[in-house]
């Protein structure tokens, strides 16, 4: 660690302060910072995409072992097809690239839903009410009631009668406990982020600046 903050630390510290100034109100310095951030971040992903996606996944395989990877020309062409939308007459061609991209990932997503979410979550909700002590049984019962009442809340195509309305109400209560608890649970992690930022400002910038080590 250098005793006097270097230029990089100065830049980072001033940008940190400028970004925090948004909390007071919008101002030209924040606007400058926010525009710079938008530009740099986009440029950053240009570098990342080129060096970490296109180079290793497309260029390198094609140049090093074309015979094994000749088919990668197709995604290259599909990628270029996306740009057909900038020519009004041929805009419809780009639909092919979009359709393949979307449908593949949505198919993949489908495999995660019933297989990876519905069945395992259902298995989790099925807890025997005989094996353990009264305490555990009560908690298992609470868990099961929670899952099923929330599901009943999500019934759309049936008019609620007296019973289902009450069960759905219990479901809403469970949702509210969950939202409140999750909110409270998250505060700590967010404060840790702020501690990290202020640590940087105080320990790496201000202290060296005023000569405290």
């Amino acid at each position: 660690m250098t005793p006097i903050p270097d230029i990089g630390t100065w830049i980072a510290a001033l940008l940190t302060l400028a970004a925090l100034s948004f909390l007071y109100k919008d101002n030209p310095i924040f606007r400058f910072t926010e525009s710079l951030f938008a530009g740099i971040s986009l440029g950053y992903y240009v570098g990342i995409t080129l060096n970490q996606t296109l180079l290793p996944n497309l260029i390198a395989p094609l140049t090093h072992d074309f015979n094994q990877n000749w088919d990668l020309l197709v995604p290259g062409l599909l990628g270029i097809l996306l740009y057909m939308r900038y020519v009004p007459k041929t805009g419809w061609m780009s639909r092919y690239a979009l359709a393949i991209f979307v449908a593949y990932y949505i198919g993949l997503d489908f495999t995660r839903r019933i297989h990876g979410e519905v069945l395992p979550q259902l298995a989790r909700a099925i807890v025997p009410l005989s094996k353990f002590d009264a305490h555990t049984i009560l908690w298992s019962l609470v868990f099961a009631i929670g899952v099923f009442s929330v599901l009943i809340y999500f019934f759309f195509s049936k008019e609620q009668d007296r019973i289902t309305r009450r069960v759905a109400r219990v479901g809403i209560y469970f949702l509210m406990v969950s939202f409140g608890a999750a909110f409270g649970f998250t505060v700590m992690g967010r404060v840790a982020l702020l501690i990290g930022r202020l640590n940087f400002l105080i320990l790496d910038w201000i202290y060296p600046l005023i000569g405290i080590r």
Partner: protein
């Protein structure tokens, strides 16, 4: 009363922002040292390392990124200080892809600077970063040099005195994984399960619950859960070692104890404001009802 309640309810949120800011800055600059009670899992980790003989080897793996640094940094540093005081050898590696190595380098530089007599290569070694956590851990179980052929300074492991007797995880006495995300679990399911090396984990508070099962099953010898766990560890260290008590009482650097001060203060601020808001809301509603009844 009602008008005061209205003013409270319509409070400019920037006052709250200012309070939060002060609440975090103050403990960083002037530590308060709020009381922390130690939990069994932290004590277990502490005592396990206390029981190691001088010359044993502890591996500390930096398995987290910058966003959880305030929670995770103090854990790694506290254990490192304990090891150095007890003349236990420390091997450091980093398995988290984004920024893990830089964190490890900074943190190691900071702590080793506190112990000027330490010799790199004799007392501690930094292996650097390797991509593909699960595969790396698996490889280290058989052959550490296979996973990390050279250390962070470019020296082949075979030429490093400390590594002479540490060929695989089997010769490591305990692993501390300071982790966010999945890498901590790899140490349990791969390293501990295959080579039997004891594991201590230092997860973020959000990640901690899932490790209780491993702790109960005896697959972990201890756990420092979140910033609170790290603060507990600092308290245990300060109680055992007067020099660390002096250090933690006077350091300018960030410690988990300061972090917990800030966390507690912010939680108190938020809870107090919620309560104030509710009192003001109730009194306004009561006033409105009275006005309506008239």
């Amino acid at each position: 009363m009602a008008s005061f309640a209205d003013r409270l309810l319509g409070l400019d949120r920037r006052w709250l922002f200012l309070l939060v800011f002060i609440g975090v800055v103050t403990p960083i600059v002037f530590p308060i040292g709020l009381p922390v009670t130690t939990t069994a899992s932290t004590r277990a980790a502490f005592e396990y390392i206390e029981a190691l003989k001088p010359g044993s080897t502890v591996l500390i793996s930096y398995d987290y990124g910058p966003s959880s640094a305030p929670e995770n940094d103090p854990m790694a540093e506290a254990v490192m200080r304990q090891c150095f005081l007890r003349k236990i050898h420390v091997v450091i590696c980093a398995l988290y892809p984004l920024g893990g190595l830089q964190l490890a380098n900074n943190s190691v530089a900071k702590v080793t600077a506190e112990f000027p007599s330490l010799q790199y290569g004799e007392d501690y070694v930094s292996l650097g970063y390797k991509d593909g956590a699960a595969a790396v851990i698996k490889r280290m179980g058989d052959d550490i040099a296979g996973a990390f052929p050279i250390d962070v300074r470019g020296t082949p492991l075979s030429q490093i005195p400390l590594m002479k007797n540490v060929k695989s995880l089997r010769q490591v006495d305990v692993v501390l994984t300071v982790a966010t995300g999945i890498i901590g679990e790899y140490w349990i399911t791969q390293a501990h399960a295959q080579s039997g090396v004891p594991v201590i984990i230092g997860p973020t508070a959000v990640g901690a619950p899932k490790y209780y099962a491993y702790l109960n099953a005896g697959q972990l010898v201890g756990m420092l859960s979140g910033m609170k766990g790290a603060a507990e560890y600092e308290k245990l260290l300060a109680a055992r070692y007067p020099e660390l008590a002096r250090f933690y009482g006077s350091t300018r650097a960030f410690t988990a104890t300061k972090g917990m001060d800030a966390q507690t203060v912010i939680h108190v601020i938020i809870i107090v404001f919620i309560l104030i808001g509710n009192v003001a809301y109730m009194s306004r509603r009561a006033a409105q009802r009275r006005a309506g009844a008239r």
